[in-house]
Amino acid sequence: MSIISEAASGPVKYLKAQTRWHPIETVFWLATLLPFFFLPDYLQLASQIAITALFALSLDLILGYAGIVSLGHAAFFGTGAYAAGLFSKFVWGEPLTGLIVGTIAAALLGYASSFVIARFRHLTLIMITLGLGLLLQEAANSASWLTNGSDGLQGVTIWPLLGYFSFDLYGYTAYSYSLAVLFIVFLGARRLINSSFGLALRGIRENPLRMPAIGAPSRAHIRIVYTISAAMAGIAGALILQTTSTVALDSLGFERSAELLVMLVLGGAGMLYGGLVGSTIFMVARDQFSGIAPQFWYFWIGLLLIVVVIFLPNGILGGLSKIAAQWRRR
């Protein structure tokens, strides 16, 4: 990879260059404000997209940067959602506290499982993430006295945000809130990736054997990034609960994890914006094609996956940057 060879020549210079804001990034974030002015009817959808983008970003940290393929990331999303939901239902309905509770719950679970995750690679790792996710879903299913099973958690009331902005039908509050949280978390993730820790993660992805050999504590790094990623997924889960006031078992399930993987890879894994772009395209497409039965929708997803893997190995963003690079060379 060209990025790595540049890095070898001057890591500090490279990191500094990466930290600088590109004009396209500014344009991207300004564009996220457009729905307020031009698509006021779609704010609810926009808030769902922002939340899914956050979820995809959390997977990108472990998959795109550290190379950990997970088929069970929805476990943390669901944990965040259920923790925030149960907290709001039984204790205290203030949204920001609920957000923190969801985050902490997912982070704790992520930290506990990270000790297992850090020990394995390849198929065993995929199976362990899948198994942990399924285990959690079964647990939530058997604890139906608490979670209300597949009918979903009912009777959650979320108080107005900051005591003033209530979650309305139009989604003004929901979108502003989700977008603000997404942006803040994105800044954190961006900082993390453009640090020496971020470089160490990329090292693990490129060669998991060499990193310990040059003295990098790879397992500790994986544990940290996995916990952070779980916490971020928990934030996304708590947000989805607070903006929709309900959560069901499918938010923990394998389909959710697989879908997330599709979005991330569609956008491009390992480039921060990949998950954001992929989830936007995926969610808008699903909204547009919501008329067709879900099983046929999966036909197009499947086809898209095959096309992306064969022709666009780095996703849409990877393809675009390749075109841009060719154009610049001319």
């Binding site: 058997s142 890879v265 046929f296 898209l304 996956l305 095959i306």
Partner: protein, 287 residues
């Protein structure tokens, strides 16, 4: 009189045999090429639909459809292998996972398009339906038949792998691919044939599974999880490992559902995680 635990054990073994048929092909091809094929159960589903189509639309008898389920699935899988899979042998796990999940998604949609999303009914011959009583224990004929088929196929596979020239080539390729090709073994062709046989067995398993677990378009994903569990617990590339793991998972699943129904599928996931933590390469895995 035999205690009911024997009955649970028997049902578990019959179910395990089914899982073995569904998963043994994946285990061998994974061990051979390290290719993570999540579309394996889509091939099994294809076998099931071949049987349904031949029986319900063409009036074929059940037993005549079984070889067809094997042949059609094997032929289709080789097509996929030559056109799509071959490109990704050296790609990352992630690319393989994505490509094959894509194929599985498409298979679900195609099955739903042609057959609808409902369960497919088939009529197995009446003499396969009943059960007989052995010392106070009800033995279902069909389950006994499954155990028989599973046993015969295990023997055939082990025999073919241990005693034939082709089997020796497969074993050599699993052990060391580069060395095997250095000795003049055409690893790619060995793999294609093994892949076809493995997928064919999955197709046969899918056809045999209809009577026990039914068939609908979600089969490709529901049983994928079981198959992956069997493969990773048993160890890649090991037929004996797949058999032991399949029976272990089958018995745990049936026993769990019988004795502690409130746990649901909890038990097999626990068994899997425990075994993988103890031996990351699976019970019989070498690498």
């Amino acid at each position: 009189m035999l205690p009911p635990v024997i009955g649970v054990l028997f049902d578990g073994i019959a179910y395990g045999m089914l899982l073995f048929l569904l998963s043994v092909g994946l285990s061998v091809t994974l061990g051979l090429m390290n290719f993570v094929n999540l579309a394996h159960c889509a091939f099994a589903m294809l076998g099931g639909y071949v049987t349904v189509l031949l029986m319900n639309s063409f009036g074929w008898p059940f037993f005549a459809t079984l070889p067809m389920a094997f042949i059609v699935t094997a032929a289709v899988s080789v097509g996929f292998e030559r056109v799509l899979y071959r490109r990704l042998y050296r790609a990352s796990d992630l690319d393989q996972v994505l490509l094959t999940i894509g194929i599985a998604f498409i298979s679900v949609a195609v099955a739903a398009y042609f057959f609808g999303t409902t369960q497919q009914p088939i009529n197995v011959p009446s003499y396969m339906r009943g059960s007989f009583n052995v010392m106070g224990l009800d033995i279902a004929v069909y389950r006994l038949f499954l155990v028989g088929v599973g046993g015969v196929i295990t023997l055939l596979l082990i025999g073919a792998l241990e005693l034939t020239r082709f089997g020796a080539q497969v074993r050599a390729s699993v052990d060391n691919q580069r060395m095997a090709s250095g000795l003049g073994i055409n690893v790619e062709r060995t793999f294609a044939v093994t892949f076809a046989i493995g997928s064919g067995l999955a197709g046969l398993g899918g056809a045999l599974a209809i009577e026990i677990v039914g068939l609908d378009p979600n089969f490709a994903f529901t049983y994928l999880i079981y198959v992956l569990i069997v493969v990773s617990v048993g160890g890649l590339g090991s037929i004996a490992g797949s058999l032991v793991a399949a029976i272990l998972i089958g018995v745990s699943d049936i026993a769990g559902k019988y004795y502690v129904p409130q746990l649901g599928a909890f038990l097999i996931y626990l068994v899997m995680l425990a075994i993988l933590m103890w031996r990351p390469v699976g019970l019989f895995g070498k690498r």
